[in-house]
Symmetry: C2
């Protein structure tokens, strides 16, 4: 432990990088903008993936896998239907390496003779290759809906990267569904938004606001983009997931028709929706503190650690094993730390750092008193608890921690949604308080961009549960019928 | 169902492609050599992955994720330590697309200004990038062993591809472990070979022979390559998994040292091991028949289908639901086919095609007689079974099918290992009977290559359980101390 964790109050951005490094979540890699997800970080992602995957399957989706590469011509097809197409992406142009030189001077070079006729793009998202495939899979309304999800890596050549939050390569899931009507596609789009919101709140303990993106913030191929927006501890917003109603755009670009019940050929209706390893960044920034990572129990790879005090012994191990067994029977993941090199204080700090929700400290005196010291990571409170019924106590405590983290985050989030009615109030919130500014906007992209230019704040969303309310735009003074949420964002 | 499945006896290769297509396992894609894994094929792979992942975790491994891209210079480092380095792989040279033209004439082109300083290779395997990372993770013997696995996509620019068996992009897992001694690394290498063999036999019901590769067939970076070899129904062998003892080769190429217990700097010892979506091809070719896919119950996404006869009705549904519930309580996956468009005969053929191990046909007369018709996919036997205790009956039947598939495949495999002592016998086995020829070989690469040149057969492995036996090489007549297994292979 060379360097301490930078306190959040001092430098939030440094604090974040310190947590990522010291909690052993990810490492930089020699490839620009690509990270190595370390075992602890990956175990958290696995728990997220498994929970989401189960929710997708419960809602009737199946998984499939499409190629990593997209022929360049597919993007030309998309570009014709999409304004503002531009892509920072990885382009494959050759398919062979060869060696030149011998021994220590041997070098690997790209074989200039092995040039591809058509360049391939490493998928930044898979709409094009998937809709090209759906053309063969869909003939009639009886083939619909097609409800497919893919877990995959994607690449976007981002210039400024930050572990989990923005990386050139990231892991994600992308749902791509096909429907016989606009209504059905819209219901699917909204259903998956709800799935994301439920996951964020119930598993990540991260409150989110469901909303619609403005035309300017919409996914280029979409007719409507829905999103969940969360608030980080530094008052910046994080887009945590998006669900797109794609209309017939991709069906038109890739000639995907179906025979409807009236025996007419019609373009198929589409949705797509995705969340990524960015959620791990959101998880860190929602709950963690200056001592390290704080994890909601439902996503903690180790939920309970038992530490023999001052060090492992046969007597302590026997009791520890018994406790662990009773906890595991309740589906709780437990680690017994039987390392005999490090002292309890060092271990306590370590498990705080990596975010284990509950720590049991077990000494000879505890056993004599038929009790154990229980420490919770979220509040750092410690308490002696009877060994009788310890399993039930811990199970309940894990639920409490899960709920407490959500409540804490929700309180912070709610306190940081500020209604503003003037430009001065708006600037004040963005500069001093942080969080969401709920303000009237005249509905034009021009004003939206002018506000971004002046303040760096963007419209995070038009909340779905927002009410109609007459007002005037904070910048232009033009009339407005509803408030939207502005914030600086990751 | 336009075209029937080509019978195996007529054209095994066509039969295989028909099964892949008609059982809806995979599709070709517009990207050369890359396939689309369809939902049914992917569900099988998911079951394989989950079973393997659990076995890796039980043996102390954790998952992590490393970048998709490898800097070209890393392969130069490897090439210096590896003879015969050559790589058909995807090379990324640029990082941006731009559009030219407008509207219908808009085209996407590679931006020539966005050329990478150093080309990136899409990983064909990850030893180099992982060992470059391990240099930072390993300082002393206390950091060892490092037992990491990665589930990932990899790309090898294969010229001749075939769904699952050989594709340009494929999914796999790659274990990369680091150890403080050669002994420990060798124990790990052998342990993972055993894990693969257990998985192949107990889950895939595919008998395998464990063996060592010859120097010529060894992974270029390895000191010893172990493999499991299976036999397909056409008498050709399939390498189903490999486990490599890498010695200190990658530690030397990437300067990875550890401080040993004697306070000396020493290069780290390594293993790597992998299996891929190729296993799905092996699964198909081990069990399936001219009616379609045959799946071992442990890997079947749907284990039991219940078909109301002649079509769904409230009475039939009630009983079907009750049966399904009792089966699900035993952890059995069940589908009730409530489609009312197709007739039972059509449905029977469909479920045979996609390999559902057990089919229950439920009609009004069955219910009156308190029974159900049970059909097993492996033997196609049908039997009326009492509804009392049907759950227990089916559970037992699934176990029987799993065992029967293994026994059947093992019998075929054992009958196709033929001891040969002369060149004439050797050629006869390869040309007429197929399978493995167990023969003496003089141990030289020269002879190995000459045999391959003459017969297309390769040495699949030197079996681990082979006995020492004096003999003479079938080609050179030189002395030999043990038999090796030759076969034509996928």
């Amino acid at each position: 432990m060379a360097k301490e964790i930078t306190p959040r109050s001092e430098n939030y951005s440094e604090w974040y990088l310190d947590i990522v490094q010291k909690a052993r979540l990810a490492d930089n890699s020699p490839v620009r903008g690509c990270m190595v997800i370390k075992p602890h970080g990956f175990a958290i992602w696995e728990k997220m993936r498994d929970a989401l995957d189960a929710m997708f399957k419960e809602t009737g989706h199946v998984n499939a896998y499409f190629p990593l590469f997209i022929p360049k011509s597919f993007l030309s097809k998309e570009a014709k239907h999409v304004d503002g197409f531009a892509q920072e992406c990885a382009v494959v142009t050759h398919y062979r390496l060869k060696t030149v030189g011998e021994g220590e001077n041997r070098q690997v070079v790209v074989d200039p003779e092995a040039k591809l006729e058509e360049e391939l793009i490493v998928r930044p998202t898979s709409e094009t290759i998937i809709w090209n495939t759906y053309r063969d899979w869909i003939q009639s309304y009886r083939d619909l809906p097609l409800l497919i999800n893919q877990w995959a890596n994607v690449v976007r050549w981002e210039m400024r990267t930050r572990p989990f939050l923005r990386t050139a390569e990231f892991l994600w899931q992308e749902g791509h569904t096909a429907h016989a009507s606009a209504d059905e596609a819209m219901i699917e789009t909204r259903q998956m938004l709800d799935v994301y919101a439920t996951f964020a709140e119930e598993f990540m303990a991260m409150p989110v606001i469901k909303g619609v993106k403005t035309a300017n913030e919409r996914f280029a191929g979409a007719e409507e983009t829905f999103c969940i927006e969360a608030l980080m501890q530094d008052g910046k917003a994080l887009q945590a997931g998006t669900s797109h109603f794609l209309g017939q755009n991709f069906a038109k670009a890739f000639d995907v028709y179906f025979l409807n019940k009236d025996n007419q050929q019609e373009h198929v209706w589409a949705t797509s929706w995705g969340v990524s390893t960015r959620l791990v960044g959101g998880l860190i920034m929602t709950h963690s503190d200056d001592s390290g990572l704080v994890l909601p129990p439902k996503l903690a790879p180790i939920q309970v650690v038992i530490i023999p005090i001052p060090k492992p012994s046969p007597e302590l191990s026997e009791v520890a094993d018994k406790i662990a067994l009773s906890l595991r029977k309740r589906g709780i993941s437990v680690k017994i730390d039987n390392d005999d090199q490090n002292r309890p204080g060092f271990k306590f700090a370590e498990y705080e750092l990596i975010g284990v929700p509950v720590r049991l400290g077990l000494g000879a005196r505890d056993i004599a008193a038929n009790q154990v010291e229980v420490a919770r990571r979220d509040t750092k409170e410690k308490q002696s608890v009877s060994l009788d019924g310890i399993d039930e106590y811990v199970e309940k405590l894990l639920e409490d921690i899960q709920q407490n983290l959500f409540n804490r985050a929700k309180q912070y989030r709610d306190e940081h949604i500020t209604k503003v009615d003037t430009w001065a109030e708006f600037e004040d919130v963005l500069e001093n308080k942080g969080g969401f500014a709920s303000a009237h906007w005249d509905g034009t992209t021009e004003t939206e961009l002018a506000i971004k230019e002046k303040t760096k704040a963007t419209i995070r969303c038009i909340p779905l549960d927002g009410e109609l309310e007459d007002g005037v735009c904070i910048l232009s003074g033009q009339p407005s019928t509803r408030r939207v949420l502005f914030a600086k964002a990751y």
